[in-house]
Assembly symmetry: D2
Homo-oligomer: 346 residues x 4
């Protein structure tokens, strides 16, 4: 039985980790870290867990946690994990960081987009980018996994096969992303109030959103070229879900069958990636609560473009679900253990 | 392995049965009945089931189904199950009827409130009212279970201990209920369109809602007197969830501790009923996707009333979840098999 | 032209005052008071007012405002208006207080339910309770109007004719109220976040909500007896709207025609109260954005009860709209000036 | 006083026409046409109009209407207006068609994208495309106005100044549009049910949406070149509002000041177009219920692209509001008569 500790257990991603791990046969949570709620019962904060979780919230003591846990999940603000990390911790336990601290290999890019100094750049090289379907083998051997961002998971996986096969002109790639409000976290801010979000849609972080360099780096590895792209996130009045609509010019004429074959080549055996039937557009509701990524594409002969669409639950495949998938890989468990979550509809 | 057949598999309750049974270790679905979608793939209708359910929709042939299935769930309009039922079917298979056909013992009451003739009244006496926490032992032995209505499940369980112990004046009982829109079904009707429901709340079926006599009958058994009450349902802009707020005068002076002891007496060992801590009001979101009933009460010395509150997910404990709980009882399985669904938040 | 000042102009009720007054032919706003946003452009806070309102936010200086304005609207937290009020201010300007400070005649009741000391009880007697349809003549002559609460406006007007005519047993009156989230204000609190409110419904303030004594006092005047009732508010996932469902026992047998005649007697000539046709239940969406109160009732011979239903837009008739209606009365203008707001659907 | 007739008065766009015209000083509605509700009171269909509109619904008799009305609004399915139109009607009355029948000058393009035969192509040439800010002078003289589509109004106006000034490469233009559900109309269809739309977002009509050729034609006039672009609409869980996010490569290096000057050149004097301050992204909620178009742009030196954003209320500026604006122009009235609708927030 894997002993798991969570730092940041009372945020939305942390709460989702608790929900998922409570159904995991090979892991149990030994530490519910939450600086804001120390000594309060976890189920007082998340009433859905009443009579399911009996534990109390603890401090964010990573040193202590490393003694007690086989794996630590850090669902914390940017900079926290990097500021606490050291060789001793990694010598005792595995770490899956849900923040951005170890996602970007070029520390200057990280520091520029996030506006903070990286406190432990020496671990960046070692850290494995935890996009399971792409880096599976490296993840198995990792001590430190950088769990991908929600927008990035969906954005990368949707375009990956075409980038990898060199079918799209990466200079033309534009990603228009739409997210539910849980992506904004549980902080008490006016723009996240019900009345401000409901009956409303807006773009934000236009040209400056921090997930941009992460997507560029990973799709750059796939395409084997430097990628600079446009990424525009939008806030949608719903709790969960990310939909990305991606646009790129085709580099050569391809049939729909060839496109389908490319996606099947990379995803045909993937449990959590569902390439939909021709003509079916992904909808976030169809993956809600699950670890699935639903993907489909449509070519447009009029413009010589291909429109790629992908949908995930931002808190599952975009955060806690993928983190557990990474844990399963790191501990040699079946990749879908604890993750056979059937999407809930309606 | 129990072979289960579903008639009405493409309604919302039917879809929820499929979701829940797909995680059930001792049952598998052998028949996805849906008159509207015969020969279409089930996952074409419910895209969330893509790559999870591979079957096609079949006709509503109950005779044929009785040959193939150990248990039949009928998630069908009122009158259907009663019109198909016969001794031969019940001789071959167990039936859990999610419609109202066998819920009310007095056939004249059924015919008056539902406005249709009952086609097989001879089975009403035998049918067991499938409110698991109340009729557990009878359900274990039943061939035919009348699965309770969504409003009724929540309304009855919330008041049951106080009715049973004679603490409230049943003549003063008023139930004000609020339901998400999935309770209205998947029929294409203008009043259920997004734009009509969103940003709106209304009462409906005032003084005439069909769940009224069902609640009256069951609470009458508990109170051992004839009960006539007021029940007012409301439509709320959300997908899932029922909240009931019930009002009654106390028959004698009781302390909060005594009230708590009464609820503990009946529900202290119930897996699916959570009596909340003092001062915590049930919220539908905290039970979403799960089979839980969250209950709490508050006494009001100013008015000598007690306000009882209960919350369920209308598609789970209010329909498919309770149906599976009944199946587990009927087949001697652990009552919570397939039902360890952790509420999803947010 | 009436010069109007608003203190608390950047709350939701304050914002609605600005929206309504911007279409009022006989009034203009001379002071946008907002302690939180002093010196910021009002339209930077409420972007809907871009190119409509050019002013900047000012301090909450009531003394100074009394010099400049013919009428002051205080859309402020409880206690603020009472703490600022003095004879000098009332000598110079009229005041319409949207808080509870002058609504309750018995200062001890106010202090008990609100938990604060009243700083200017000497003005309570003079203040007129601004429920226009009930106290119209007194409002015309008032210097200080206590604008009613949102729940109270809807609760009182829905039951008023029956209370006044002695047709219902006031001891049996139960009010189950449902409100959109704008009623909770624009404060940044976790329970008001989108993800906490969306897909959720709950009761709150059970037996203790502060609008209770206000409703009891006013219905007590109507019924000419001391009224003690049960009032339970609920939070609904929508921006605007209050629906009340009220229950009471009939004191004698009355026909539907007699009931209708009673409502017509009091509301037949009221511009803003619409008594709906038989069988039509009020819906909040049908009054959204307007100053209307939609009302209907249904008698239930089975229980000898009458169910009364009322719907308003909590920010209009429940706050800013009624405040402007009061202003119109106080200044001898047509009562509906600036208030011919057609409900917006969908 | 202009006598206005509406055909299709009980659809959402028709209902919005009624709402807006009810506040118009120079027009009154003489005909509420609705084939589905003939002889029923209009306010029985739209309860918000109770005690505001007293009329009954009439047939769709355009010949008869031409006798009685000075202007006819056709808010009808594609093909209806074209099938009824003749010289006699246009000799007697003005027509503002809210369908697509006269929007596209090349009848073969219309027939290809809409899949129906055009029954009166002889009037296409005469019809004026009713995008008020672009074709104002022609509209003043028109007998027949083709009121633009909702997506198209927002898409065109957002990019128009840059297309006109030749600053963007039209071959790179991509429009990602998001719409509330009222755009789908009031038809009773499963995909528009509350439970299907709520908590969900999806693209639809990918590469094939009918508004594409309309946008291409109009932006082609502006750019003075043939335009072929990508347009992708999405369905968002909200009632009202369209947001477009448009992407194009800049043809030359321009400063933010130059861009701002270009928008000011075309829109500086426009009452209904608000170019927002630097850094402010349009939000649909800020224009809800009003005739405004909120626009802003952001250049991205990294990709040499410009991101253009525009927001409207799809039922107002995207349908009924623009139709009334056209009527005002056609009858020589102030362009904003009846349209000083302040956006409602929240």
């Amino acid at each position: 039985m894997i002993k798991a500790g969570i730092i940041g257990a009372t945020g939305y991603a942390g709460g989702e980790l608790v929900r998922i791990l409570s159904g995991h046969k090979e892991a149990r949570i030994v530490w519910y870290g939450s600086r804001s709620y120390i000594d309060r019962k976890y189920s007082d904060v998340y009433q859905n867990m009443f009579q399911i979780v009996d534990a109390q919230c603890l401090d964010d003591n990573m040193e202590e946690l490393a003694e007690q846990a086989d794996v630590i999940f850090t669902a914390t603000p940017q900079g926290f994990c990097a500021s606490m990390m050291n060789e001793e911790i990694l010598g005792k336990t595995k770490v899956i960081d849900l923040s951005a601290d170890y996602r970007i290999k070029d520390v200057s890019v990280y520091e520029k987009w996030y506006g903070i100094e990286h406190k432990s750049p020496q671990f960046i090289e070692e850290a494995v980018y935890g996009l399971c379907e792409v880096n599976r083998e490296d993840i198995r051997k990792a001590r430190l996994v950088a769990n991908p961002g929600c927008y990035t998971t969906c954005s990368i996986l949707t375009a990956f096969p075409l980038a990898k096969e060199g079918l799209i002109d990466m200079k033309t790639l534009i990603i228009d992303a739409k997210s539910g409000t849980s992506g904004a976290g549980r902080g008490a801010k006016v723009p996240n109030l019900y009345c401000e979000v409901n009956e409303n849609i807006k773009a934000y972080g236009v040209t400056t959103h921090r997930h941009t360099p992460e997507i560029e780096e990973q799709l750059g590895y796939a395409a084997e070229e430097k990628v600079v792209l446009t990424f525009t996130p939008h806030l949608v009045p719903m709790n969960r879900g990310i939909l990305v609509t991606e646009y790129a010019s085709l580099k050569k004429s391809v049939t729909d069958e060839e496109i389908k074959a490319v996606y099947d080549k990379y995803y045909g055996n993937e449990h959590f990636i569902r390439v939909l039937k021709e003509g079916i557009c992904p909808e976030t509701k169809w993956v809600e609560g699950s670890n699935y990524v639903d993907i489909n594409v449509k070519t447009d002969p009029r413009t010589n473009r291909i429109i790629m669409m992908g949908a995930i639950d931002n808190l599952v495949k975009g955060a806690a679900g993928q983190a557990v998938q990474n844990m399963n890989l790191m501990f040699g468990l079946p990749e879908n253990e604890g993750l056979n979550l059937v999407p809930m509809f309606p």
